[in-house]
Amino acid sequence: MTASVGEQVVFWLLSALTVFFAVFTVTRRNPVTAVMSLVGTFFCLAGIYATLSAHFLAILQILVYAGAIMVLFIFVVMILNREEVSPVSWRPTRILGVLGGVYLFVKFCHVADLGLPPPLATVPDSFGTVGSIGDMLFRDFVYPFEAISLLLLVAIVGGVVVSRSHQKEVDADLAAAARKEVHDRQLHDYPAQLVDEEAALPSPGGHH
């Protein structure tokens, strides 16, 4: 089955834009520009998903990726906006890795040309809609669905724990050190009076 002209135009336009924005993302020095072009990549990819009759995934791509995840990125960029001095790292192992990737790409193009089956001429109208995917998700994939919800919970807790401020613990340690110093000075100046109290005092700064 050959694709119609309109289909081809849409595919080439969207894929060219996708690759352009993706390259733009990883080459920009300014993180805000990179985030914005990543949003462009995700929008174009959503269009490509729609040409594959994956309507639900196309909407999800825009909602979750271009919406939620990118907002997270924007917030972090705003917190720590640092211009880089030398953005690209030219270590030999990294260049080797990229060259290996290019070699794999050439090989992959050879394999991909060997003729995979063309897209099915007809799929049912419900292909890729919320109803049919939800049906499959809650019948055949309940266990992975629950596992991914658990993963999201762990990610929330982990994110809070990792990014939490340690300033309070540092303050507590400093206060304990100050108390210990005062106690030592008292002991030095008035040794006789404090000899009895010393045994009763809890060990200073001791909650480690």
Binding site: Q8, S15, V19, A22, V23, T25, V26, R28, P31, L38, I48, T51, L52, A54, F56, L57, L60, Q61, V64, Y65, I69, L72, F73, V76, L80, E84, S86, P87, V88, S89, R94, I95, G97, V98, G101, V102, L104, F105, F108, C109, A112, G115, L116, P118, P119, L120, F127, I133, L137, D140, P144, L152, A155, G158, G159, V160, V162, S163, S165, H166
Partner: protein, 99 residues
């Protein structure tokens, strides 16, 4: 369009993401490269799903999107922690575990 066009496009996306992960020093851009890699994988998943007329690929793409959200949350939290501790987002300076 034939499936192999979509597959080549997905491989290009994955390759661009890999280049970003390997070559860039800014941790934010590295995380964006990982997102690009995941999207390349998703596109291949959906292309095969369309070619075979099977919706299981869509379910997996859905799960991968949820996974990417979790990964972005934890990765960005780690990045904020790194910035708090060392005042940098440069990956080459994050060498605490090397010594």
């Amino acid at each position: 369009m034939p499936t192999n066009y979509y597959l080549v496009l997905s491989f290009i996306l994955f390759l661009v993401g890999t280049g970003g992960v390997l070559m860039r020093r800014n941790t934010l851009i590295v995380l964006m490269g990982i997102e690009l890699q995941l999207n390349g994988g998703n596109l291949a998943m959906l292309a095969f799903s369309r070619a075979l007329g099977d919706e299981k690929g869509h379910v997996f793409a859905f799960l991968i999107i949820a996974l990417a959200a979790a990964e972005a949350a934890v990765g960005l939290a780690l990045l904020v922690g790194l910035f708090r501790g060392r005042q940098t987002v440069n990956l080459d300076e994050a060498t605490l575990m090397k010594r």
